[in-house]
């Protein structure tokens, strides 16, 4: 197990390096002179030259990359040219928001997706199954932004049940926080629930056909035990892996959904940064979320490993 983890970790290092290169090259590829952006109003050639010197902008690209990478590794991702705040600090203030949103969305996704998948597999071909599949297909094909806007129009504007915006930190006002987070979490969660449902369904269908399920039935076990203990335990292995990957995606920020509900998480941070040509922030967020995504992949692999006795040995 340890050896496997070590190997798996070693494999992710080149991936991380690749991401860091891509993130770094962002500043080379994006239009606009970063020195100009940093300089703001002060655009005398001397100032620009000084800025270029300070930010190593005159060095060859590999050297620039090296400076940047060593900085990042020591926790220095540069500074926002907008707010003049260190990028690391900006990320740390937004992280709890995105984390909370992702967790809530995931809970909703699991609570809907897995039971729906089980029911539609067990009741394959019945109205339950057809209904669940239609809902899931709509869940997958309806864009989040559209569902978000519809929810705001209906729940907030029409019925006045929940606020459409006005995020509050859970430490300040938990009730307000939950009221503002529930709709975006629902929008994100249902999209994932649909995917989870489809995967749970197909994994359940194949494990319900397995020989060991027939053995379980031959023992006289009740259908509930056969489905939940024998079939589901096996079916959950790929589903848990998928859920972890989805969580990784959620952590990278739900740009549109956060924008629609004005939730101040990563999504909003990165959009604002792009509009402001705040390269350092864009780089920082992308690098951070990319790393989180890879770590989640790693976790998914490890969970698959842990849940699967055949691999654990």
């Amino acid at each position: 197990m340890l050896a496997y983890m070590a190997r798996r970790l070693a494999v992710s290092i080149p991936t991380l390096l690749l991401i860091s290169m891509m993130v770094f090259s962002l500043q080379l590829l994006l239009p606009g002179d970063p020195a100009l952006a940093i300089a703001g109003e002060e655009r005398s050639p001397e100032v620009l030259a000084a800025i270029r010197e300070m930010y190593h902008l005159n060095d060859p690209v590999p050297v620039q990359y090296w400076h940047w990478l060593t900085g990042v590794l020591s926790g220095d991702m540069g500074q926002s040219i907008r707010s003049r705040m260190p990028v690391t600090e900006l990320i740390m203030t937004k992280l709890p928001v995105t984390l909370q949103l992702a967790t809530m969305a995931m809970i909703i996704a699991l609570a809907i997706g897995i039971p729906a998948g089980i029911v539609s597999a067990v009741r394959k071909g019945t109205a339950w199954d057809v209904g669940a599949n239609v809902v899931a297909l709509s869940g997958i094909s309806i864009p989040n932004f559209w569902l978000g806007i519809m929810l705001i129009m209906l729940v907030s504007v029409q019925w006045g049940l929940l606020p459409a915006s006005g995020y509050a930190s859970p430490l300040e006002d938990l009730s307000r926080n939950l009221q503002t987070m529930i709709m975006p979490a629902f929008v994100l969660g249902t999209g994932i629930a649909a995917i989870m449902m489809r995967h749970t369904r197909s994994a359940m269908l194949s494990s319900l056909r397995a020989d060991y399920v027939r053995t379980a039935r031959a023992k006289g076990l009740s259908e509930r035990v056969v489905v939940l203990r024998h079939a589901l335990r096996n079916a959950l292995i790929p589903v848990v892996t998928l859920g972890t990957l989805q969580l990784g995606e959620l952590l990278s920020g739900a740009v549109l959904t956060e924008q629609i509900f004005t939730i101040p998480g990563f999504g909003k941070l990165v959009v604002d940064a792009v509009f402001n040509r705040d390269y350092a922030v864009v780089q920082g967020v992308v690098l951070f979320t990319g790393t989180a995504f890879i770590l989640m992949n790693l976790l998914a692999d490890m969970l698959y490993f842990l849940l699967n006795p055949r691999l654990r040995a």
């Binding site: 020989d211 060991y212 027939r214 379980a216 031959a218 023992k219 203990r229 006795p309 055949r310």
Partner: protein
Amino acid sequence: MAPSPILARASARSDANTNPALAAPVAEIRDLQVGFRTDEGGFNVLDGVSFTVRTGRTLCLVGESGCGKSVTALSIMGLLAPNAIVGHGEILLDGTNLLDLSRKELNERRGDRMAMIFQEPMTSLNPVLTIGDQIVEGIRRHRPVGRAEAERHAVEMLKRVRIPAPEQRMGDYPHQLSGGMRQRVMIAMALANDPRLLIADEPTTALDVTIQAQILDLIKTLQDETGTAVLLITHDLGVVAEVGDDVAVMYAGRIVEQASVTDLFADPQHPYTLGLLSSIPRLDSEIGRLPTIRGSVPAPADMPSGCRFSTRCPFADDHCRTEEPPLADLSPGHAVACWKAPLEVRAA
């Protein structure tokens, strides 16, 4: 002529047994018809199957692949695929027709009064549960015992199926055991509640030859200890000679010959049985030069009229092709479904 080794074994076995007429019936299958609904339409796979499994005795159900042996076993256990339709018939277990029972009543009997071992030991155990858990859950399903007592009993069962270091094996997952060991676990699981009827569907087909003999031996020994009635399904007449007391030969969803093992080997009557026996080389000299069965089993959806074997039978005539022969007693305890029985070819 010296009896062949297989025959000698068969008669030795049978002599050691009680008179079949005295053994009480445990499972009686009567006129069972089972079909399947598919996208291409429906067809019958079993058509009027009848046989009796008696306490302390082993009935071998033998026939080529696809003739309906597994469907028969699964019908008894109530494990047929959802697209199966039981047309008519009765499946009596200790006098109760299982086909009349509710799901719940059937579940009370499965794994308790009747149990089954499957052909595929590699896939028949749940890969994510320890073998201890899998045996224990079967015990606790049917007996009011606590976890600790059920575990003691499970270890005891593993010991009885000759699994070394049973306490340690309890915590193992199926993949940690060989195919033979897994089949032993399946046997332990099946016998844990001391069933009246044990169904073993080709329990050794997937195993190495040396392991096959061990598993058959084990089933035999345990049967002698417990008096369980065994329905052993096989396509191998060698296995029948080895462990069978009674035998029912199945062809295309019907029983074509039924007898004690001794009688069947000594005096095979149905042309299909003769064909099957001719594939056991040693018996060739005993029954003359019969060609191995030519042609192939007709598809269930495409059964010939009259005798189902008529498409492959060397003795088929017009009567055979128009009218289906009933399974009729030729002598007490020996029934054959053939218009030409008793066969006189052997003299020819």
